[in-house]
């Protein structure tokens, strides 16, 4: 049987042909779009956009081939657009934000980021939202508009990070001794980088004692491990040399 015998009229054959061409072209162009030199994670969004545009054009052409008057449809679409415009303000805002986000590329799929108080690993960057997995394994969808308005902290951008640990010691503690203990502890931590060299920064005399900040660098992968290791090692090292780590104390004189 020929297509004409199956579908009945030449118009239907033409419409079906256009539809099939549209589907094939949308798939092929969508696939080709993924090969563009884009940042990781953008492929899916670009593929969806290309497929939607190509698909819409060919569906309209198919309807026209079937004899539908698209000018009426377009006229109605004008009214619908106004109505939809009001209804889809948020989506449009998200889509536009998505375009800016894709252009600016503050992060990529797989990066650990903090957006609007949510910290997690980016699973996908789409036109309307980004999807993240938090460290307690919760799936979070953040609208692109929110992402654009928020401060974004990308924890994966640079290869090394600094661990800061604030230590309190009694007011009368020998700060020179404390300094040597802290630097010695950093030196013995296998995950602490030798350079950039660990630093001690005097923060001030607080209510509970003198406050010092120990800053040690680690590779991004070892940041948390080093932070935990230092938190354990520092009080032990101070006590071993007779320095009592400070605890919050409030004196009330009546």
């Amino acid at each position: 049987m020929t297509p004409l015998e199956i579908l009945g009229t030449p118009e239907r054959v033409e419409a079906a042909t256009l539809f099939v061409i549209g589907v094939v072209l949308a798939l092929v162009l969508g696939q080709l779009a993924t090969r563009l030199p884009l940042a990781a994670g953008l492929e899916r969004a670009i593929r969806r956009l290309v497929m939607a545009v190509v698909g819409a054009v060919f569906v309209a052409a198919s309807l026209q081939a079937l004899g539908y008057d698209l000018s009426v449809l377009l006229g109605a679409a004008g009214f619908a657009t106004v109505a939809l415009g009001f209804a889809a303000q948020t989506s449009a805002s998200n889509a536009i934000s998505g375009v800016f986000l894709l252009g600016e590329r503050p992060f990529a799929v797989g990066d650990t980021v903090e957006v609007g108080g949510t910290r997690g690993i980016v699973l996908s960057i789409d036109f309307l939202s980004i999807k993240m997995r938090t460290f307690d394994n919760i799936y979070v969808r953040v609208p692109n508009e929110t992402v654009m308005k928020s401060e974004i902290r990308n924890l994966s951008r640079f290869p090394v990070r600094r661990v800061d640990l604030v230590i309190r010691v009694p007011h009368d503690a020998d700060l020179g001794l404390v300094r040597s203990i802290l630097l010695g502890t950093a030196d013995t931590e296998p995950l602490a980088l030798a350079e950039p060299a660990p630093q001690i920064m005097f923060q001030g005399y607080g209510e509970s004692g003198a406050e010092l900040q120990l800053s040690v660098w680690a590779t991004r992968e070892h940041f948390l491990e080093l932070k935990n290791a230092l938190a354990e090692a520092v009080p032990v090292a101070l006590l071993a040399r007779g320095v009592q780590p400070g605890v919050p104390v409030r004196r009330t004189i009546v």
């Binding site: 640079f158 290869p159 296998p190 980088l193 030798a194 350079e195 950039p196 660098w217 590779t219």
Partner: protein
Amino acid sequence: MLGPFDLWVVRSGGEAFLAWSTAGDELRERGFDDAPRPDSQPALLRVPEPGRIVLEPRTAPLSIVARPETPVSLAPGASLRAYVSTPLWLQMSTRGGAGPELAVQPLKHTWAGTTTDGSLCIATRTHLRLSLERLPRRAHRILSAIVLRNATNETVKVERLVLPLPLARLYADGDLLWSESITLVHKEGGTDSLLNGPPREAASAVQVAASRVSSSRGLTGVVSAVLAGIV
């Protein structure tokens, strides 16, 4: 036993395990003999029997950062010959194939470059010495001869050097291990590293290991690291 590195066989329930620790010196101070203690935390590797274990010497897998004892300045056109000793690695293999690669002493990593771009290196605690006699000679370390040439029109201060040891072949001369001699030429806009075979101090040395990577392309960040090394 090789410096602070200990390697021993543990037999348990008819099975053989290879155990090793880089805390050898510390363990011996505490009365360690030939049996692993729970607190020594040795690493264990189940090995096939019967068979033999082969340990092959290797250079460091990353570039090494070394500092001179005191900062040295190089006048335009001047060159400097210096020596450094770096930790030895051992590639273990058993009848079943290649095993883990072990550093014979605990290591400290360091970063060469800026905090936004650079490469991970190994820091050597031994200083760069201008005289070979002043360098401790130990069987568990590799000696390297370095020539640094200033090909710029300005005096440069050498505070630290990043040595691309993964590019160097390894040689044995009697009880000592030597890496291929390394020449660093500091030019306007960059530093070139050249490898020149066994150093003249060990001219009769025989090669015991090939280089880990064949060219600087395989060594991430080596060029920028060398650049960062000359301040």
